[in-house]
């Protein structure tokens, strides 16, 4: 019944798109081009990312055919950077989505049932006692290297933050008039949570997730930079930056080019996330 009263999806999307500030569109374009780069990496990259020509080792940017130079093992830096978009997009978005999927029910339960809530939030307090990067490094060391373990580590690192967002949002709706009305009508608790509270919690979680992706990309690539994340020879920006560090004085491009790619992608996500947040909270001071 309520569905019929809502404007059609296309109109709602159009309204939302107009509310987005221009910098969000710039961010979206940046992120979008990296996504396209990741999908069509095989077609765009001029060389195989793992093909090595040892004779050209450490050649600087501008070398014929290799516009961004050659790395320590004679591989084309441009081709590896293009392929590296895949790892960064996966390690940025997957942990954010998975941890949100765990945190939303956890936060809802913690907000509704006092005992469980106290227990869950005390456990989160302990996790909050570790700086994010320290927890990430410790978990990566325990779990061991590799993409799946890197994602698990980042999910666990994010969990306390996501749970707190879901918990605070759910708690603020616990005594809301429409929730009270639903309760007075005898609506069962699961139905109240699902219909009256979940939409608000989801909105808050999505906005928070969008603003945190950049930090997660930097942290995950940082673990690979330290050798605790994605392993060679996979083209990954963090790993490439770490490998290039050893030849910084002879061939600075090997480390700085993939690092610049991280910076650009994170800038895109941050522009998008900030814009989304401002569009959905019009009262905020810009």
């Amino acid at each position: 019944m309520t569905e019929a009263l809502r404007p059609p999806l296309a109109a709602r999307f159009g309204h939302f798109a107009r509310a987005l500030p221009p910098q969000a569109w710039v961010g979206g374009a940046l992120v979008g081009s990296f996504v396209l780069m990741a999908i069509f990496a095989d077609h765009i990259a001029p060389f195989d990312p793992n093909a090595s020509n040892i004779k050209l080792r450490l050649k600087p940017p501008g070398t014929e055919g290799h516009w961004l130079g050659i790395d320590t093992q004679g591989r084309d830096v441009l081709s590896r950077t293009i392929h590296g978009a895949r790892a960064s997009l996966i390690t940025g978005t997957m942990p954010v989505a998975i941890s949100a999927a765990i945190a939303v029910p956890l936060g809802l339960a913690a907000a509704w049932f006092d005992r469980a809530g106290a227990l869950v939030m005390r456990m989160m307090d302990v996790l909050f006692a570790f700086p994010m990067v320290l927890l990430a490094i410790l978990l990566a060391a325990i779990l061991g290297p590799g993409l799946p373990n890197l994602i698990i580590a980042m999910v666990l690192v994010l969990l306390p933050f996501n749970t707190r967002v879901a918990y605070t949002e759910a708690l603020s709706h616990r005594e809301a008039p429409w929730v009270e009305a639903a309760r007075a009508l005898g609506t069962p608790v699961p139905r109240i949570l699902l219909r009256e509270v979940l939409p608000h919690v989801l909105a808050a979680t999505i906005v928070y997730s969008m603003t945190i992706i950049g930090t997660i990309i930097i942290t995950a690539a940082g673990l690979s930079f330290l050798g605790l994340g994605i392993q060679p020879p996979t083209p990954d920006w963090g790993l490439m930056t770490g490998e290039g560090r050893t030849v910084l004085n002879r061939a600075p491009h090997v480390a700085t080019v993939p690092g610049a790619a991280i910076f650009l992608l994170v800038t895109g996500f941050n522009l998008l996330g900030d814009g989304l947040r401002d569009a959905l909270n019009p009262g905020r001071q810009r």
Binding site: G214, T219, R245, T256
Partner: protein, 314 residues
């Protein structure tokens, strides 16, 4: 106030207990067998069993945790597998070096944000404001490990002005000037993200404060410029400022671990990194515990300072 300090300190205790438990648990979960590490080639079934009994590894988990916690409370964190020296001494020394780096980073953050934030707020929507906003936005999106490498390329390699590694010069180590020169680039790298965040928050708070009635009243009395800004505006935003600076402790540590690795700064982050690579369990534990302690106590101090500012506002 005393009541508040006592209450907050009391609240920290269960968190610290949880932290020590997680840290102890991490040694269990870290890959690599302690006994095999210690015995090396002399390992056989018999000697492993004897060493396990000697180290207390055959006892129940809770008993082991109790014994470990008791020793940790007395300052005994065990012996490093790799360095064969007591962990506590190493951890204390490295934590001190890290605090120098993080302290310098915090100083850059506080001073930089206290200058740039209000400046940007006063020039709202003008060129200065747009420049500060764009620069801080870009700075907030930079990975510390990339910024550090770029700074080395720029100021140690291309322009050989500043040293790129260590705390003191190897050949002619000399006092404060030497330390300052070695500290400059790492401190800048560590501070970058925090400087950006604190400047943005300070600017937003100052814009709001300048629109308040008591500032308008002061302006109409003829109070202008520096006195208006720092006499009336800053007072209003001080709790926000201290709060956001307190939140930076975690970020500063996060950046400092990469900074220490890149600039070979002999701090706790670099020690943690080398210990993880070398699978030195007790040392990893000691480093994690030290960082978590500094972090929790730093947050406690920030909370108390904010409360104090709140109480003594007028």
């Amino acid at each position: 106030m005393t009541k508040y300090i006592l209450m907050r300190s009391f609240q920290v205790l269960p968190v610290l207990l949880g932290v020590t438990f997680l840290v102890f648990l991490s040694l269990y979960l870290l890959p690599g067998d302690v006994t095999l590490n210690l015995l090396g080639l002399a390992a056989n079934e018999d000697s492993i069993a004897r060493l396990r009994a000697e180290l207390g590894l055959d006892r129940p988990f809770s008993v082991q945790f109790g014994i470990w916690l008791g020793r940790a409370l007395q300052g005994d964190l065990g012996v490093s597998h790799v360095m064969r020296t007591p962990v506590t001494a190493v951890v204390l020394e490295k934590t001190g070096n890290s605090l120098i780096l993080m302290g310098a980073g915090l100083a850059i953050t506080v001073v930089g944000a206290a200058l740039l934030g209000p400046l940007s707020a006063v020039r709202k929507d003008r060129a200065t404001d747009h420049t500060v906003k764009t620069l801080t936005f870009l700075l907030a999106s930079m990975p510390a490990y990339w910024l550090g490498l770029v700074l080395i390329v720029a100021f140690s390699i291309t322009l050989p002005w500043l040293p790129a590694s260590g705390m003191y010069d190897f050949i002619t180590p000399g006092g404060l000037p030497d330390l300052t020169a070695h500290l400059f680039l790492p401190a800048l790298t560590t501070a970058a993200t925090s400087l950006a965040i604190v400047t943005r928050v300070t600017r937003a708070a100052m814009v709001e404060a300048l629109a308040r009635s008591h500032v308008t009243a002061a302006r109409s009395r003829g109070v202008r410029g520096f006195r208006l800004l720092y006499g009336h505006g800053v007072r209003a935003i001080l709790p926000t400022f201290v709060n956001i600076c307190g939140l930076q402790i975690g970020y500063l540590f996060g950046s400092s671990i990469f900074t220490e690795v890149i600039f070979s700064w002999p701090g706790i982050g670099q020690q943690l990194y080398t210990s993880i690579i070398a699978r030195d369990g007790p040392m990893v534990q000691g480093c994690v515990l030290a960082v978590a302690l500094v972090f929790v106590l730093g947050n406690l101090l920030a909370d108390i300072l904010i409360r104090w500012l709140d109480v003594h506002r007028d």
